[in-house]
Point group: C3
Chain length 437, copies 3
């Protein structure tokens, strides 16, 4: 079975090293430090900062976004019982490479007079943003792909993301400060298209490891809560300074707060005996941050933001409960983390809210261009994701066989769960691969 | 047994949705964005920020406080072996609703000329503060109350907190920058009063789930350490800018550092064979942050702050070891998290230190007004908590029966602890309710 | 066996209380608040902050460093299966005392005109830095030392660190903004010298508790990721404001990103069947932050930083795989966390890179002085560590016997791992000491 040649010993190190070496060469040729001014004197301290721009002003917000990318996304995906190493570990790998690639791809459109790509805090924020698309898509295919496949997806998705974002934001001049359309909807539908192409009939009836245990749900809550707390920074980091940025913070804060209430309420309403479901709590409570993204810096009023969050919490929870099973059963879309419910539908909701808000004059803009940006994001995502999925489907990237899905031990050295159980042999199977070829 | 109608299917969703809808309506009527100036032009970026106030200046401190509320309090309470979902999950629910309610209740006293409540970073910090009182009280009744009861407590406690705080800080003009009195002592005694009213004789001899396991203590340490690190932001966020704010940071940093040493030392001194006890480490190490709160921005000298922290660590540890069992056995006060030792006594210590410091001229103020503010905080807490407890005791809020206390599975869908054990049936009982009616 | 008198009941509390009381007295005599100006009026808010320095400007960076010290180092060391309480708990103890001691020791060299030690945000950052040396050394002796031994090490190591740092940075005027030499190499070789003196032949063939379980590796990743994210703040916090500080952030961000790729690649290359090893992922991904430290604020170009990180990831991973076993077997250096691979060799690499960069004119300086600072750091570390190790080896500090190494239960009250297993007796041995004397 060559399709299941999951030994990564040569193909993964070679790919990772080549990608990094190419990237370092490109950085050597194309990038320069940039503090927003033209001088370039590193040798003496700049004591006269009074009249200059403040190159570090956005640094605290950058760090909030950084935490969302590496802790937030990383731990959110650790809910699977046997896939925590991969969730947080591959999240680190993909984001660390993705931010370098994103600096280059995004920088192509923003070169200085000398043709160089300037690197500063704002470009670091945008680089982190570009990795978010990959991490969203990662959620759709979590547990079913090899590190090699995922590195390939990272290169392709960030490239396509930067194309679409350039079109939507710079050519169409659409508003999307919190990137409901260009990051969330794009990342979700890109990932869903990949998942569709990589459809596994063998997982139609579920998989014993495709679920959580008590502690893995607790680790996932670390991710959820950090995402929830720092989302105002995500939606406001690249807003215009002053009132627009403040507005983006307030709107996101309130949208998320309202979203928690509706997500909890609907979770209880649709579940057995009115109990809360951790899947909803971990994910749907964040939909308000996604959905308010496009409108975040607009004058929609605090209650407008809350209304968006409130609706997003409902849509997302209902999606997890009723829509995801239908997509899996009828359309062959196996969406491990339910990114359609957290990023897909709330992202579209955000795009639609943006069209309405611009039409109502909440911010200068053109409602038709907003709609075009939403359509563009969905189109690039679906086509780009399908092509990327086809490339990822090539049989020599080490994709895991069905029975080894959702299991760290195929790509990681995994210790026993507990020392005592190991002695008793109860976990013996877990420290070994089930199918090594 | 109607008192134990713990099925939340209708009562919880209906209450949560109604509360949120009412809140959104109140926000639509009463709130406006505020950057501290009077202009309100969202449509163009404010390029001329030189002469304006900086509306985002306190944003990094706000985020520190935010982390304390959602990660700090949330994970600190996950020490219970079977109550992690509720600890971090209900913490999120109560704080998300509480901050909205707090914006309204606090804002009533701070309306602008048009009668509107202005929302900016400072009001978001105060809203987070108001939720802290609820989360402290939550600790006292942790494991023994339903989500419906807790939402009711949130509405009432924040309302009463805002009344007392207005009295203490604005009418009595007491100093309480880090809120030893108005948040910590208030929240603790409010919660203890509720716990007294909800006294459960059936838990007199303990409960098998009222304790930790190894991993749950590790999760709790995430909460402890984040609270410990960011407490300087809590105590200084609303201090006057410049030296007073810096002083509040330094005093809190040093008080907490000294408190760690005394808490560890006393823990070892009072425990079996000189061993350290996680309950003390998780909680008493934070007492220095509580106790230095009132004096944080005063010129008490670095050693003054350390002395307060040193004493707080001793009082708190001794309280956990000797006082809590007495309160439970003799006064019927079952304090799950020991909030009396972390927030109650250190809060009073902070209030007393504030009286002394003001009397010694460490800051302008009136020692009698400091004392009145402390008395007011305790009075409002005890009376308000008792009344709130009586309302929470009404038999239709879904309070859990004794045998289901401290167990997530009564209100949550809970996966098995471990896949293997599930197969062997060892955990079968845990994924089901013990008493569903 | 008096050498194994591990009961801490008197010796630990007495030492901790005496150290803290002495420290408070020294603070009372020697320290004052400092906002960088000379005025000292705490009683009124300073409304005129326009022309003054901003005493809180570095506060967000201080908090990032604070998170690295308390969450980063603390959780990174929780990878051991039965030593999580000690890892995060003793980390808190040592850092809380160390920062107080560091404020005094560092402050000796920076007294004001009145002979007082000024305390502000910059001195708090430096105090946190000084604790980092102790926490690095702690990693080398993790699991094999008592709290009393570790407190002694803290006092001595920070004192020696401040001596060496004063020599290296202020007398030799070497560049070391991110402290590759003065913190990382120093802390590592100090700890290795201590470990060599405390060599335990009984652990030559390993110890059943000297390893991880699945969940402990997950907790460790919390530490890894927070260290990784906030390292740019560590390396830039004390850089000159403006472009140098920005450069330090960018270089560290990029070095770490490149380091992740090489660490993952080499981990897969050297491991069984190409699998990734959590030891490498948790540690070697951080080597880029260490190695770029000395050069962080220099004009080495983004690709220069990436090259340093890329090489550091390789060296560190190879060190874990091949060098550590040799050091343990042949030189008697039992390095629990592999600090030689994360801090030792990457620290030397950083020092060497600094010599080259200064020689190439990337920053004003003297390459010979850079080399002298590296030699000084290694010399102070090895001699100071050996002397400290000899003092720690005295037979009355409660050092654990071999069979109780790597086990929380010798110094902590430890609950059973799981309630169910406790009932079945499987964990009964774990909640008790194996050897209490």
């Amino acid at each position: 079975m060559p399709a299941y040649a999951t030994n990564m010993r040569l193909k993964f190190p070679i790919l990772a090293l080549i990608l990094e070496i190419i990237t370092i060469i490109l950085f050597a040729v194309f990038t320069v430090y940039s503090d927003g001014t033209n001088h370039d004197d590193h040798k003496k301290p700049s004591n006269e900062t009074h009249d200059e721009p403040e190159p570090m002003k956005l640094y605290p917000m950058f760090q909030d976004v950084h935490v969302m990318i590496f802790i937030g996304f990383g731990f959110l995906m650790t809910f699977l019982k046997r896939y925590g190493f991969s969730s947080v570990g591959l999240n680190l790998l993909l984001a660390a490479f993705g931010l370098q690639w994103g600096l280059l791809m995004k920088g192509i459109w923003h070169r200085d007079a000398a043709g160089k790509i300037p690197i500063g805090i704002d470009s670091m924020i945008n680089a982190d943003f570009s990795t978010a698309t990959v991490l969203i898509s990662f959620g759709a295919v979590l547990g079913k792909t090899s590190p090699v496949q995922l590195l390939i997806m990272t290169v392709l998705e960030i490239t396509i993301f930067c194309l679409n974002e350039h079109l939507a934001v710079e050519i169409l001049e659409a508003n999307d400060v919190g990137a409901s359309m260009t990051i969330h909807a794009f990342g979700a539908y890109f990932g869903l298209a990949v998942a569709r192409v990589l459809y596994r009939p063998g997982l139609r009836n579920g998989h014993e490891n495709d679920g959580s245990v008590y502690h893995s749900d607790m680790f996932a809550m670390i991710g959820t809560v950090f995402l929830w707390m720092f989302w105002p920074s995500f939606n406001s980091a690249i807003a215009d300074p002053g009132l627009p940025q403040l507005t983006a913070v307030i709107n996101t804060y309130l949208s998320l707060a309202a979203c928690v209430l509706s997500a909890y309420a609907i979770s209880s309403l649709v579940e057995h005996k009115g109990k809360l479901d951790m899947v909803h709590i971990q994910n749907a409570t964040l939909a308000g941050g996604v959905a308010v993204g496009t409108c975040a810096d607009m004058n929609i009023g605090p209650f407008g933001a809350m209304l968006i969050g409130f609706v997003a919490g409902i849509i997302s929870t209902v999606g997890f409960k009723y829509l995801s099973p239908i997509l899996a059963a009828n359309l062959g879309i196996q969406d491990t983390c339910g990114v359609h419910n957290l990023h897909g539908m709330p992202g579209i909701l955000g795009g639609l809210a943006g069209i309405v808000a611009v039409a109502l004059g909440k911010k200068d803009g053109d409602a038709a261009m907003q709609a075009a940006a939403l359509a563009s994001s969905l189109g690039f995502a679906l086509v780009g994701g399908a092509i990327t999925g086809l490339i990822m489907k090539l049989p020599f990237w080490g994709q895991p066989p069905d029975q080894n899905c959702f299991d760290d031990s195929i790509y990681w050295e995994v210790p026993a769960e507990e020392e005592e159980n190991e002695e008793s042999g109860a976990h013996a199977d877990h420290s070994k691969n089930k199918a090594e070829v």
